[in-house]
Structure formats: structure tokens, C-alpha cells
């Protein structure tokens, strides 16, 4: 098997780790540069922390969606849809202005990873994984038998894993309170989640996985009502030492947990 190498770049207030299973050719380097450039350009448009971003101008200058970058209208439509499907557990407007921060990272990572489309199609790249701040899109060429083995960080035991999951082509996202304190707010109440809570979701793409991991973390371990309607493959929710897992829209292994816990 071809060796893998990893490139690390700061972006969106966090770090992108791009792991490529391929030779390190000029073509591959160009794809990596294009991938990072897309992430940075989306940050320029969507960051609420930059006064000159389209999101900030929408908020501060009373602009309409038609006045700003067309990507904003696309994301706004997605967020409206997600708010409805998640029963309000996700809401980019809960603050009274449009802040799609919880959505854009996954969406942007999917878009950025398309820089490798051609290389994957012609087999020059066997597999590529783009991990932005702990959420990742994983791609594998149809000709390859590569399997991504992903660790899910333990929410409270630093340096340890809670679980592992194997993915050929898909995405893994984790949302919760563990890494930088309580930064999750239930949009239905405006209350900060006390935690600790951690939810990991596996789906076809990171837009979906990231959004529904946020929904799962907000919902908490006692609420899996959203799960049967979510377009996701599987996942795990952890809260105060309890875990629940689901796959194929059914809960798995809860029998044991429920009886013992």
C-alpha cells in the first residue's frame, strides 16, 4: 500500500489536517493547496468574527441575501431546511440574526475536498481525509481497498478514545461540550449546555454528519427522537459516562446499557 502523508494548515480558528494516501506529486500538492484555499475563502465569507465577512455585513449593514456572496443564500436555504427537519434542535437564527457557524465547517469541508475529485477518479490518489477541527470528510478511490480507521476522542479522558469506527467513503463529525467548554446552546431555550456531552455521527458527507452531530448533542442522551428521520448512517452519543449507539435507524446495544444503567 502507498504511504500516507499529512499536511497541517490553520483555518477557521482551528486546524485542518489533510491526510493523503498517494505519492507526493505536484498534482497532489496543487489539490491540497486548492482544498485549503476553498476553506479559507469560505471563512472569509462566513466568519462572524470578521467585520468584513458577508455574514457580518448582513447582520450589521442591513443587507439582503441578494447583496452578498451567493454561497450565503445557499447555506441559508440549507439551514432553514435543517431547522425544520430537526424539530428546531438546530437553528441558525436563534440569536436573532443569521449565524450559520455550526453548519459552515462541514459544508465547506465537503466543498474543499472536491479538489481531489479528479485525482481519486483516475487513481493517482488512493484516498484522502480532510479533518477540520475534529470533523472529517473521508474519500477513497473506487479502485482502492483502503479503509479509514477513525478514533472518537473520549469526551472527558484526554488522550483516550471512546470508540473507533471504520469508514470507506463518508464523513465523521463530533459535537459536544468537551474540547472548549460549553459552546453549545439549545436554540429552543437559549440555554447553554452544561455537559459534558458528546455526539458523533457518521454520514455520506460532512455537511450532513456535522449538522446532525450538533442536533444529537443538543438533544442529549435521553432524546433520540430525531434519529429515525435523520439521513445518517450511524452514531454514538455519550453523556455522563452513558453511551447510546444507533445504526441503520435503529438503536444498537442499548438493551445492555438500559438494564445495567
Amino acid at each position: 500500500m502507498t504511504a500516507a502523508f499529512t499536511v497541517v494548515e490553520p483555518v477557521m480558528g482551528t486546524v485542518a489536517s489533510i491526510t493523503v494516501v498517494s505519492e507526493r506529486t505536484e498534482r497532489v500538492e496543487r489539490a491540497i493547496a486548492a482544498c485549503v484555499a476553498r476553506l479559507r475563502d469560505d471563512e472569509r465569507v462566513f466568519s462572524p468574527y470578521r467585520d468584513d465577512s458577508d455574514i457580518s455585513r448582513l447582520r450589521d449593514e442591513g443587507l439582503e441575501l441578494g447583496d452578498v456572496d451567493p454561497r450565503v443564500a445557499e447555506v441559508a436555504a440549507d439551514c432553514r431546511d435543517l431547522r425544520e427537519r430537526s424539530g428546531g434542535r438546530f437553528d441558525a437564527h436563534w440569536r436573532g440574526w443569521f449565524d450559520p457557524t455550526g453548519y459552515v465547517k462541514g459544508w465547506s469541508t465537503d466543498a474543499a475536498t472536491r479538489a481531489f475529485d479528479e485525482l481519486l477518479a483516475d487513481g493517482e490518489v488512493e484516498a484522502v481525509g480532510v479533518n477540520v477541527g475534529g470533523d472529517m470528510r473521508l474519500r477513497t478511490a473506487a479502485t482502492s481497498d483502503h479503509v479509514w480507521r477513525i478514533g472518537i476522542a473520549h469526551p472527558t479522558h484526554e488522550g483516550e478514545l471512546l470508540a473507533t469506527v471504520e469508514v470507506v467513503d463518508g464523513a465523521v463529525a463530533t459535537s459536544g461540550t468537551s474540547e472548549r467548554g460549553a459552546h453549545l446552546v439549545d436554540p429552543r431555550t437559549g440555554v447553554h449546555l452544561a455537559g459534558p456531552v458528546s455526539a458523533t455521527v457518521i454520514a455520506d458527507d460532512l455537511t450532513t454528519a456535522d449538522a446532525w452531530a450538533t442536533v444529537a448533542a443538543i438533544a442529549g442522551i435521553d432524546d433520540l427522537d430525531w434519529m429515525p428521520v435523520a439521513p445518517v448512517a450511524s452514531g454514538i452519543v455519550w453523556e455522563h459516562g452513558r453511551t447510546r449507539r444507533f445504526a441503520g435507524r435503529v438503536e444498537v446495544s442499548a438493551f445492555h446499557d438500559a438494564l445495567v444503567g
Binding site: A4, F5, T6, V8, P10, T14, V15, S17, T19, K105, N131, G133, G134, D135, M136, L138, V147, W148, R149, I150, G151, A153, P155, E160, L161, A163, T164, V165, E166, V167, V168, D169, G170, V172, A173, S175, G176, T177, S178, E179, R180, S198, T200, I202, D204, A233, S234, G235, R245, A247, G248, V250, V252, S253, A254, F255, H256, A258, L259, V260
Partner: protein, 168 residues
């Protein structure tokens, strides 16, 4: 709490029924798909499953040969059992159950239905496996680590950072 348990029992029954529905049986190697059996499963209150649950339990996952489960009063023998993959109209279904004290204490679905072939590719491997369940818990080697968003500062102390350094 009771309500939850009943709901879960319903789920288990549903799974077992799917599992029992075995029109076809292309035996498959279970080693790649099945989770390692949980160890140290606690004794649980009697939750006698329906006899049919045990009837079609397939080959034992711990031995290479195929053997039928011996029936006890509850109809179940202690151990971990992996059924053969059964093709249903929803797709292939394969269930592993762990029996302790004559009762089902754990249900795993190493392979389960999905609506499209593309989903199946992801699904067949994408059930998160708890590290404490795996045989090689300590030596779990991973390519990447997923965790709740870290800042650029938090990244330095993350497992992902250690992996990246090893592969830079």
C-alpha cells in the same frame, strides 16, 4: 425508565424477527464485520425473550464450526452468537447477540438494512465500536481522531496533533 426498557425490548424483538427471517443464506465471514463480543457483561434481570429468538441462532462466533444453541429453560445458552447474514427485502441483515444468565444482554447488528447499495458500503463498517469492547483496546491504531471542535490552541494537545506529527 420502564417505558424505555419496553421500547428497547420492542427494538430487540424487531431485530431478532428480522434475523429469524432467513430466506437465503450465503454464509459470510463474520470476523471482519462483527464487533468483538462484550466482555464482563453484567447479570441482568430476567427478560425472557420469545423462544423463537433462540431457535435460529446461527453459528457460534467463537468457534469455527457451526453448532446449534442448546436450549435451557429460557431457551438461551450463555455466550455470543452471530447469525448468518439473511437477505431480506430491506437488504442483508445479520445480528449478534450476547446471552448471559439465560437472557439477552447485548445485541449487535454488524450488518443491517439500508435503502441503497451506497449506504450499505458505509453502513457495513460504520457502527462505532466502543473501545472497551474491543480485544485490542489499548493498541487501537487509528488514522484520524474525531472530537468536539478544538481551537488552534487546543489542537496542540489533541490526539490528532500527535498523529499528524508522526506522519509529517
Amino acid at each position: 425508565m420502564k417505558k424505555i426498557v419496553y421500547a428497547l425490548m420492542a427494538t430487540v424483538t424487531g431485530l431478532v424477527l428480522l434475523f429469524s427471517y432467513r430466506t437465503s443464506t450465503v454464509p459470510e465471514s463474520t470476523s471482519a464485520l462483527a464487533d468483538a463480543p462484550s466482555s464482563g457483561v453484567a447479570t441482568v434481570p430476567k427478560t425472557t425473550p420469545s423462544p423463537s429468538a433462540s431457535a435460529s441462532s446461527g453459528s457460534s462466533s467463537t468457534s469455527s464450526g457451526s453448532s446449534s444453541a442448546q436450549t435451557s429453560s429460557s431457551g438461551l445458552t450463555d455466550g455470543a452468537f452471530t447469525g448468518q447474514a439473511a437477505n431480506t427485502r430491506f437488504g442483508p441483515v445479520q445480528v449478534q447477540i450476547t446471552v448471559s444468565g439465560g437472557a439477552i444482554t447485548d445485541v449487535q447488528v454488524p450488518q443491517y438494512p439500508s435503502e441503497s447499495g451506497r449506504d450499505q458500503q458505509i453502513n457495513s463498517r460504520a457502527l462505532p465500536v466502543l473501545v472497551k469492547e474491543t480485544v485490542q483496546a489499548q493498541s487501537a491504531e487509528v488514522d484520524m481522531v474525531s472530537g468536539a471542535t478544538y481551537t488552534s490552541t487546543g489542537y496542540r494537545t489533541s490526539l490528532q496533533s500527535a498523529l499528524d506529527q508522526a506522519r509529517a
